[in-house]
Point group: C2
Chain length 314, copies 2
DNA sequence: ATTTAAATGCTCAGCATGAGTATAATTTAT
DNA sequence: ATAAATTATACTCATGCTGAGCATTTAAAT
């Protein structure tokens, strides 16, 4: 290859395909091709000849490979860091990937894919049963050691501030949207397995390791989705056509990794006009039967930002 | 070229570089190379050999070409629609571009760049002097004709709803963030000049035409920035080190294209702890001298989402 | 009939917001 | 010198949203 030529660039498309089963958020995974055989996000090439748009390319290979009917799709981010794909070292090509977030209603994927609970990869992100033990036991001590062992005083201060912000230490304010900030800190500090692996060592650390930089892409998707449910009614893309308010709350809690205040959640959803009664009730559980609701699509025309806010509380 | 080969993909980097001069938001433009010689966003190649990350690539050619010191930088979106670059038709290559938003303090660009007020391209987005006349005179009638002339009833209803949402017709609620939605409607309806040009006709329509799909990229940047100032203190990236609260308000108004309520704006900014007095005053204007303030960086550690909300009102 | 498990209804303090009125400190015009 | 204009800043007040919790209703299970 002529050295004045730019090295070849390969553009691929990665998808964070999310569903919610009961109250658990799940992500579609495949096995990556490497020896480590970690979980990886589904991936497809961008076909410059046949795909008119990037999103069309994504939908076409997802439809081919899985049987899933992607509802909501949005572009997440384009990842192009050197070293993100091990094949780079073999043949010098550069791998760039456009990440997408897609939402589907609970369904069985065909093909080689499998749903995995996203908290398998991010156990510290699930605060539904209180602060995860792994934070105080492992993660925060390791992060603090990393900050304290930073030689340069200015850099140390910067890292300390990032740590405080991402994990809400000072104000006691955990922000569930900061998934990516937290993962990036853990990577930089060498705490997650990917850091060791990319450095050529044995991978170990909190949460399951994923192939390539896919845990970062997943973190990006989680951040985006956790933010989005607060100002767009995307959560209904994940719900069946009829649901009780408690099921809706459980879905929101699963995504946000937080417990919400039941009465206030109801008040919010109803006052915002997001749902309407179907007239039926759900009676499969003990206790008073719950009314079934459906999403009121016309709300989109009425309010500027109709969405499920997250009134915290146990 | 072998037909089994994918066609060659060229990855470029586009930047929406924004500054604020007095109360006007300006964007760095260059002349595009085509015969039409429209304004275009600065563009640089992504150098797969030398750029470790996409953002590093962006910073490196911006520094080379313009002399500007990019402060805040964030990735916007990756644009890959077929037909977005006329060179496609010549040599069959496919041009993909990663768009970035960058903020700089007011300064003169070196090189061939020039600052242009972004409302030259989006006159309907400036509501600071009330609803822009061009809306009732041209844009809304044309959009309504487009909707009404849609043969398929379902598609017509969808378009009507999109129109109502994007331009806030029913509820009278103009949402300043929906810049991109509005531009996409105008493009689809064939109202902006780019639509005619891409169809091979003479370009004409509201707002100045830009080269390639750059007006869409600019719209993406405007949407992002208008949203961001509400939950991150990015506006201070555009302010001098000392400023009066009214100057800050003017900058926010210029970006949002809205007039804000002065007293409530002050209350918000001060109560949020975003600024601190410098002790000096600004006396160059008639009227009571205004205190000068600076950004309080430590606010980042105190509040989860410190930002300049936008209390509307004349 | 009693207990248990929900769902649903209601209250209340605190805070934020929208929309002002009122007052203070300057420069410009007469 | 005085008034008018201009800008900054302080303060008020009704409204509505939010967080937190108590109370009541309706069912199944024992």
């Amino acid at each position: 290859m002529d050295t004045t030529d730019p090295s070849e660039i390969v553009v691929g498309l990665n998808a964070v395909i999310v569903t919610v089963t009961d109250e658990e958020p799940r992500v579609l995974m495949v096995r990556d091709g490497t020896a480590a055989a970690a979980d990886a996000l589904p991936f497809g090439p961008f076909d410059a000849r046949n795909d008119r748009t990037l999103e069309e390319g994504l939908r076409s290979w997802v439809a081919q490979q899985t049987d899933l009917d992607l509802g909501y799709v949005e572009q997440l981010y384009t990842f192009g860091n050197r070293g993100r794909d091990p094949r780079e070292k073999q043949d010098g090509r550069r791998f760039i990937s456009v990440g997408y977030l897609a939402l589907v209603r609970d369904a069985a994927p065909s093909g080689g894919g499998i749903w995995r609970n996203w908290y398998e990869f991010f156990p510290w992100e699930d605060w539904r049963d209180g602060q995860p033990a792994i934070l105080d036991a492992d993660i925060l001590p390791a992060l603090n050691r990393w900050v304290e062992s930073t030689p340069d005083a200015y850099l140390r201060a910067v890292r300390e501030e990032r740590l405080a912000l991402a994990f809400g230490l000072e104000s006691g304010a955990w922000d569930e949207e900061h998934v990516l900030d937290r993962f990036e800190l853990l990577y930089e500090a060498g705490i997650v397995g990917e850091a060791a692996r990319d450095g050529g060592d044995e991978a170990d650390g909190p949460g399951k390791v994923m192939g390539f930089d896919h845990r970062r892409i997943l973190a990006t998707g989680m951040s985006r989705l956790r933010g989005k449910i607060k100002y767009r009614p995307v959560i209904f893309e994940l719900m069946p056509s009829e649901f009780t308010l408690f099921q809706l709350q459980h879905a929101a809690e699963g995504l946000a990794g937080l417990r919400l205040h039941k009465q206030n959640f109801r008040r919010l959803v109803e006052r915002a006009g997001l749902v309407e009664e179907t007239g039926r009730v759900e009676t499969s559980l003990p206790g008073r039967p719950a009314k079934l609701f459906r999403f009121r699509r016309t709300v989109l025309r009425e309010r500027p930002t109709p969405a499920v806010n997250l009134p915290r509380g146990g």
